[in-house]
Amino acid sequence: MSAVIVRDEAVHTPDAVQPVDLGRSRVRLADLAAVAASAMGSRRMRTLLSALGVTIGIASMVAVLGLSESSRADLQTQIEKLGTNLLTLQAGSGFGAGDATLPVDVTSAIARIGPIENVTSVVTLSDTVLRNTEVNADATGGVQAVAADLNLLDTLNSSVADGAWLNEATSEYPAVVLGATAAERLGVTTAADGQQILIGGKRFTVVGILNPFPLAADLDRSAIIGTQAAADYLGADLSPSTVYVTTVPAFVEDVRSVLGATADPENPEEVEVARPSDALEAQNAANNAFTALFLGLGAVALLVGGVGIANVMIMGVVERRAEIGLRRALGATRGHIRDQFLIESLMLAGLGGVAGVGLGSLATFAYATTQGWKTVIPPIALAGGLGGALIIGAIAGLYPAMRAAALSPTEALRS
């Protein structure tokens, strides 16, 4: 057939000596995208299944990021609600016998520091707490007796679950308020029926049960009485064992630095000053470690999804040899064919990415809602999810696209 073209002075090629202008093969990007979309549309099940791999990968990554961010935000609000401005003072173990105590008048000394909001002290008593006279005197269940100032609840942001907190009157009488854990261990479920327990062999009437303390777990295991009652009925020494201080938020560190010297000017190094919210911050950091692990698992899923897309694309190239040959015969360059398949792969992965971001956000919302958290999805997770999907799509599509571009127009002649 070649000879014919040479010799035939065709009507449409008027001048064979002067080469005719061939122009250029051109195709609009939108048209290529439409071709790719219609190819995906004609193989719906395969399209959905291959996009599903990417969807799962992206969804898990978005969900992991969203959940860790939501839980972090929740922890953060919790920390802020509790107050990062709470400091505790404890008598450290001194150089001597280890029985260092804080001065009795420590709270009034601390109250003189300028940016203080609240200061309250707790005295740990050595007296045992028992349910009644029948039980073994050693079976305290870890419940300790403490004497506390009346402003304890305000300072520690805690509240009463049942009954009432101590007041001016009851703090002088044999009345006791139980921490949440203490009440449970002593088998006291209500403060209403005037139940009595034994502290140091003396009967104390339960007048209230507290909710758990967010930042002072020790107090949950405590039976709390008034300082006056502790002195009058138990003959206790009223040197505070722990002092809780809340400061004006901006001055936490300033107060922290002077607290030791203020509390015990003679032995400031024997006073241990701590900030309980540091523990929650540490928990925050620990959560981040898990996030990295799960993020890695999500990335593996995404990679597997990418392999799935590459697989489907290669299958598509083999099946569509005739179509590719036809397009080449119609004037598509190798570049046009390559672009068409790359676009298809990008669209597949993009579809998976969009679905994944949606699904991941939905999962985050659902889980955060059941946990009572506010849903927080970092924008970087959304952008990164889509971007990651597209990168995977580009990589997965590259080899199949090159293979498609290498096919010749004669593929269309095969039956």
Partner: protein, 167 residues
């Protein structure tokens, strides 16, 4: 071998593609229509790689379908068309960019003889209107009916009726 004054063996892929797009129309034995596209859009595909926009492609596709006598079938899908009609759509697609030459590879190979005759009649009509059509076939009877025959065996030229006429 040259096409339109260009030496094929030295042409880059881009220029070869440009030549296919602007100078040559292809008609295949198996038609190679896209099943999910209407006749009109199948023909418009013939202009996809010219960079023309969809409106222009469809307009010119309609003209081409008119030329092959299928103006009444433009919205039909390939599956809704007979074999002969499908081949007409394929021919319209080859025609749509007004190529210098149309290459038809066994264009009647998948058609019954009556429909095949109609297709050949269409080729004669188009030829009469000025189109150059090259039909590749093993069917000697079909070849006899064409104005010029070139015999090729194993890639070698054996005879050319035009040259013999001169001699």
């Amino acid at each position: 071998m040259t096409i339109g004054g260009h030496v094929v063996s030295t042409m880059s892929d881009k220029r070869l593609s440009a030549a296919r797009s602007s100078l040559i129309g292809f008609v295949f034995q198996q038609f190679h229509l896209v099943p999910s596209m209407t006749a009109l859009d199948n023909v418009a595909t013939g202009l996809l790689y010219t960079g023309a926009d969809l409106t222009e492609r469809r307009f010119r596709a309609f003209e081409a379908l008119q030329r092959v006598g299928l103006a009444h079938r433009i919205t039909h899908l390939p599956t809704e068309l007979s074999g002969g009609e499908r081949q007409r759509v394929a021919i319209a697609r080859a025609l749509v960019n007004k190529p210098a030459i149309i290459l038809a590879d066994e264009p009647t190979g998948n058609l019954d003889s009556r429909t095949g005759k109609q297709i050949m009649a269409l080729f004669h009509d188009l030829h009469a209107q000025g189109a150059t059509i090259l039909v590749i076939t093993h069917d000697h009877e079909l070849a006899e009916g064409l104005p010029r025959q070139v015999h090729i065996r194993d890639g070698k030229l054996e005879s050319d009726s035009a040259l013999e006429a001169v001699a």
